[in-house]
Amino acid sequence: MVDAVRRAPEATPAVARARAAAGRAVARVSGRALGPYQSAVVRIGFSATWLFFLLREFPHRGELYGPDGPWSFGLAERLIASNHAFSVLMWSDSGVWFQTVYAVSVLSSLLLMLGWRTRATSVVFMVGVLSLQNRSVFMGDGGDNVIHLMAIYLVLTRCAQVWSLDARRARLRGSASAGAAGPVLWGVLGAVFAYGAVTEGFGLGWLAAFAALWVVGALWWMVDRYEPEGEGRAVLDVLANLVHNAGLLVIMAEVCLIYATAGWYKIQGSRWQDGTALYYPLGLDYFSPWPGLSGVLAGSGTMVMLLSYGTVAVQVAFPFTVFNRRIKNVLLALMMLEHAGIAVLLGLPFFSLAMIAADAVFLPTVFLLWLGARASGGVRRVLPAPDAAPEAPEAPDAAAAAAAAPADPSPSPR
């Protein structure tokens, strides 16, 4: 396109350049699902966080979301009648149904983390997250809020291009939709959906959304099976890329909005201005699991001031640094460290995990490749894989490259 610009410089070079740029942009967003490693790490991060949370709260599941918890079925019914939140738990007040939904939510988190039939499991994951959280809204905190949003956004993304069982299946069997599990899963989910539709368990919007997902799932499978090289498949690919790229953009923008809001509102606070803000949460009984540790940090006025100012500066600055790789990466590392600190110091491990998973969407590909190589190297050392090696040289997709990564010239230090 450089030639095109040169050939007609006298006409309107600016227009030609703009056109070429627009053309390139269209080719980019329609030709590929961008950020395969980033979307995969977000998928793994959020599903692992939610899985970890559900397992940790397993002994308290009835108190949190069960029909006889303090936020009883009747109370939830009245609140949901006014706010129309989505929850399949409202379909029945039976204990068996609740246990089933909880178990399915655990299972879907595990499967989404592994990237098994990701298109379907991401939807089940979202339904699980929304159903449990909306059933008892007053049990949640900021961490639940992030998971709630990301569970919805993840449905839009092609988040299993790498680091997933789907990618592995595609590598070994030629297509991610190979095998009987896909159609079976489709049938089961269709039956559940039909039940929900008939018993008016969904609002109009959800009804349309699930119907669309279900139909597209079938269409995708048929095209993939019967004309994998045909134009129909190419069209679906383009559409999926568009939705994925928009979804990824929304995820990134959402993270920026979170930090911008958190930062800009802090600037207005007198405690953030006088540099004592961090001292106060350290003195709250609900947020000081390690009073000794909190006391040590709270004892140093200089430390508290630096951390308070640093927090605000980083949060306000982050959205503006996403266009500068180097500064962005430095701030990213700082924010992840701060969240790791918050996890322990304020006793908010799941909030922190969720925020780190959200931050991860901005991690550089080089770093993620390096991480993947280390992880798969570790896995290989524990259990040697018999079938991955012969496929690797000709397999074109990224998962293969990642699997073969120990041999890769990795640009990062090992």
Binding site: M1, S72, L75, E231, V243, P281, V344, G347
Partner: protein, 263 residues
């Protein structure tokens, strides 16, 4: 329900775009193949494996499609792009301070955001909470034997939460959020005289009552007899000013007592 109706917002948009898009897509045809290899080699889609077939490999993206499909996908591009931007704009207006635009479009914003996209990121902002609010409960129990009323003194439920949280890496939501947020919910939906505001006020009252009761039965108060009535109060104590500052903070405990609730 309203929040999920994505269709109407998107449906009338694409008509404006088609005249512009096909040529753009066509312009994209040339640069694509040359742009691909250097970008990042490991991320090729698996469809590429068709190289040995007789048909030439399809250019990825809109440019590789036939004319009718280009129109369809270009429309989709416009719809998806506008939907993403629209969503982000509405989320922005939701999290931003109330302003001219968000006031003008309050209904649209709320209609889209609630209930599933609701969010609040004023984390410890504008100022962090600077006081410990403890919820305490006392009760009257009718004894099993004689039938007389036995008073049970104030119990600090938040202190019990605090003890459960202490020295653990993974505090449970039942300890960290349940009572704390229930009290917030109650105070947010009641006036100064503890009169409920609307249905939420009533819901919060029942919620708080159920939490208190379940805590009382857990520790054996219920075993002493039938709980006849309970009373809750909050004890608010400011976190003392930092040792290095010369600020004076009133660290007295202030109580807010709710009326007795008969069960």
């Amino acid at each position: 329900m309203e929040s999920n109706e994505r269709e109407p917002a998107e449906a009338d948009v694409p008509q404006a775009v088609p005249p512009i898009d096909p040529p753009v897509a066509a312009a994209a045809a040339a640069p694509v193949p040359s742009a691909r290899p250097p970008a990042d080699p490991p991320v090729e889609p698996p469809a590429e494996g068709a190289a040995e077939r007789a048909t030439p490999p399809r250019v990825p993206g809109i440019a590789g499609l036939s004319a009718p499909y280009r129109v369809v996908t270009a429309l989709a591009l416009a719809v998806v792009g506008l939907a993403a931007c629209g969503h982000l704009a509405l989320v922005f207006l939701h999290v931003a301070p109330s302003n001219t635009v968000s006031k003008q479009h309050a209904q649209t914003v709320d209609g889209w955001i609630y209930p599933e996209f609701e969010q609040n990121w004023k984390l410890f902002a504008p100022n962090p909470l600077q006081q410990n609010i403890a919820v305490e409960v006392r009760a009257e129990v009718r004894s099993r034997l004689g039938g007389e009323l036995i008073p049970v003194g104030w119990r600090d439920l938040s202190a019990e939460d605090g003890a459960a949280i202490r020295h653990g890496l993974l505090p449970s939501h039942t300890r960290q959020n349940e009572l704390r947020r229930a009290w917030d919910f109650f105070t947010g939906s009641h006036d100064e005289d503890n009169k409920p505001i609307g249905e939420r006020g009533e819901l919060s009252e029942q919620y708080l009552r159920r939490i208190a009761l379940s805590r009382l039965t857990d520790d054996g108060t219920g075993a002493r007899g039938e709980i006849v009535r309970i009373q809750l109060r909050s004890a608010t104590r400011a976190v003392p000013a930092p040792p290095w500052s010369d600020e004076k903070t009133d660290t007295q405990t202030y109580y807010r007592e709710l009326p007795w609730w008969t069960l």
